[in-house]
């Protein structure tokens, strides 16, 4: 389950920040990515690279195209122009399902859990592709059914325990408090064994103390799994604290890329997004 920790190598790279992980190919490369939705260029010339264990932030005003970028990466929309390379492999022509199998998992801006399933079944559903038993085994409860279900059960509990949620395994997912639902969505995404995790406004609707807890959880996930994480977020305390690199979108264009410090002092970003400090 655990990936080996990559070495930090100081080599100049296309990955924004930090200059590491580039001994091997970056996990994600977007080259001139663009899409036209309803006659409007929702995203254009999106060039973006994420290192193998990088945490990157995607920020920008509403309607700037952040979620659209996620939808392009996960093939909810097919890009009109450009290329997405995932682990060096062109994702052209793939659909959402194939992209997930190739290693991208995501959460959603508006929580999208399987509300009527139990917490653990939400996680197990995400493990469906690693279970191989067929319908006959399921109906007759043959040995491979029992073996695979048991394995899945243990792994699901283990994943839930990262967020200290193993006690809630049998509860209905829709009955969980808001913060727990956000966490469960992350666990579900992790259950598909992604190499790149996309988080769409994970702290939306949380108060500062909940956000702080979430921040710890994201760091924990990152350290445990050594995967790349890209997050969209409006909560600047979260973004500036955990992202190593930040990319700012406005009207579908990248207006700035850099470290949190760079971004915070970038006049274009202040103008379009952050607003003047009081």
């Amino acid at each position: 389950m655990k990936r080996n920790k990559t070495k930090l190598v100081p080599v100049p790279s296309k990955a924004m920040i930090p200059d590491r992980d580039v001994a091997r190919a970056p996990v994600l490369e977007c080259i001139n990515l663009g899409i036209t939705l309803g006659g409007i260029k929702a995203v254009e010339d999106f060039n973006f690279t994420v290192g193998r264990t990088e945490i990157a932030g995607l920020i920008g005003p509403n309607g700037a195209g952040k979620t659209t970028v996620f939808n392009l990466l996960t093939k909810v929309y097919q890009p009109t122009t450009g290329t997405v390379l995932l682990n060096g492999q062109d994702t052209h022509g793939m659909n959402t399902v194939q992209v997930n199998k190739a290693g991208i998992a995501r959460t959603f801006q508006n929580i999208r859990l399987f509300k009527n399933l139990s917490v653990i079944d939400n996680v197990k559903a995400a493990m469906n592709n690693e279970m191989k038993y067929n319908m006959l085994s399921a109906i007759l409860r043959l040995r491979d059914y029992r073996r695979e279900e048991l394995a899945a059960h243990h792994r699901a509990l283990k994943l839930l325990s990262i967020f200290d949620m193993q006690d809630m395994a049998d509860l209905r997912a829709g009955s969980l408090p808001y913060g727990a639902q956000r966490r469960l969505e992350i666990v579900r995404a992790l259950a598909t064994n992604p190499s790149l995790l996309l988080l769409d406004e994970p702290a939306a609707g949380m108060n500062p103390s909940e956000t702080a807890e979430l921040m710890d959880s994201i760091i924990k996930v990152h350290e445990m799994f050594q995967i790349a994480i890209v997050l969209i977020e409006h909560d600047m305390s979260l973004v500036m604290n955990i992202c190593e690199g930040i990319c700012v979108l406005n009207f579908g264009h990248i207006i700035a890329k850099g470290t949190p410090e760079d971004i915070q002092s970038n006049p274009a970003v202040i103008e379009a997004y952050l607003g003047r400090k009081k």
Binding site: G38, I59, G60, P61, N62, G63, Q109, P177, Y178, G179, E201, A204, G205, M206, N207, P208, S209, E210, T211, A212, H234, M236, S237, A272, Y273, L274, G275
Partner: protein, 253 residues
């Protein structure tokens, strides 16, 4: 007629005896879930009052109960000294309460202008509606630029402006805003709060529900802090902002 006079007199006596809105010990249930547990508060004419608290504390439920979308099992809500708990939502709008709902809920398939017209549904004078629309356009020049656009194609910030403009079209005596800053970029949050302050300057009384406690308290006269269906603290905006307890729980200090 005397009723009418009283309404107009109210804005002056800001600290006068009778509050514009008085919520008196209401209990609200969703099925068997006890969502609001006996809360009481009041909003005086001309004030900005804010309800802050965590997700699920019952802030939106409170607003929806005042609007008549939900009904309290016990307790009373008085608006202009009349009980409104048994009145249907559309009648409450006629009494002078407008709500900008959480998540904006504009009519996405209608044009910006049609949305504003719907806001003026209870008005019948065509000319006045036109004047009011112009006033809203003055307040939100962006909406004027986009008046013929289908509302669903607006950006989040513009939709929030439209939702506020739409609510103002009914000429409310009390404007209730449910999480106006939700999901907006920092720069837009600032703008929206500036607009709220502007609207307040025009004489409107505002009841504001917010997650963004910092912002909300900084413009509010008074605030109430809610937690799991109860009001746990109250005070002026300034007091609450400087309270250590509040800072710790809601302001990330």
């Amino acid at each position: 007629m005397s009723e009418q006079n009283k309404k107009e007199a109210l804005p002056q006596n800001k600290n006068g005896a009778s509050p514009l809105l008085k919520v008196d010990n209401i209990n609200v249930y969703y099925g068997s879930i006890h969502a609001i547990k006996g809360i009481s508060f009041e909003v005086k004419s001309g004030e900005i009052v804010t309800l802050i608290g965590a997700n699920g504390a019952g802030k939106s439920t409170t607003l929806n109960t005042i609007s008549g979308l939900l009904h309290p099992t016990t307790g009373d809500i008085n608006f202009l000294e009349h009980s409104i708990v048994k009145i249907q939502p559309h009648k409450i709008v006629e009494q002078g309460i407008a709500q900008v709902p959480e998540g904006r809920r504009i009519f996405a398939q209608m044009t910006v202008r049609e949305n504003l017209e719907m806001g003026a549904y209870i008005q019948s004078d065509g000319n006045e509606i036109k004047n009011d629309i112009e006033k809203v356009y003055e307040l939100f020049p962006r909406l004027k630029e986009r008046r013929k656009q289908i509302a669903g194609t607006l950006s989040g910030g513009e939709q929030q402006m439209l939702a506020m403009g739409r609510a103002l079209m009914s000429r409310p005596k009390l404007l209730m805003l449910d999480e106006p800053s939700m999901g907006l970029a920092p720069i837009l949050v600032e703008q929206i709060f500036k607009i709220i302050a502007d609207v307040h300057k025009t004489g409107a009384t505002i009841l504001l529900v917010e997650q963004n406690a910092q912002m909300a308290l900084s413009i509010a006269d008074r605030g109430y802090v809610m937690e799991t269906g109860k009001i746990i603290t109250t005070g002026t905006g300034k007091d609450l902002l400087s309270s250590d307890e509040i800072k710790k729980a809601y302001l990330g200090g």
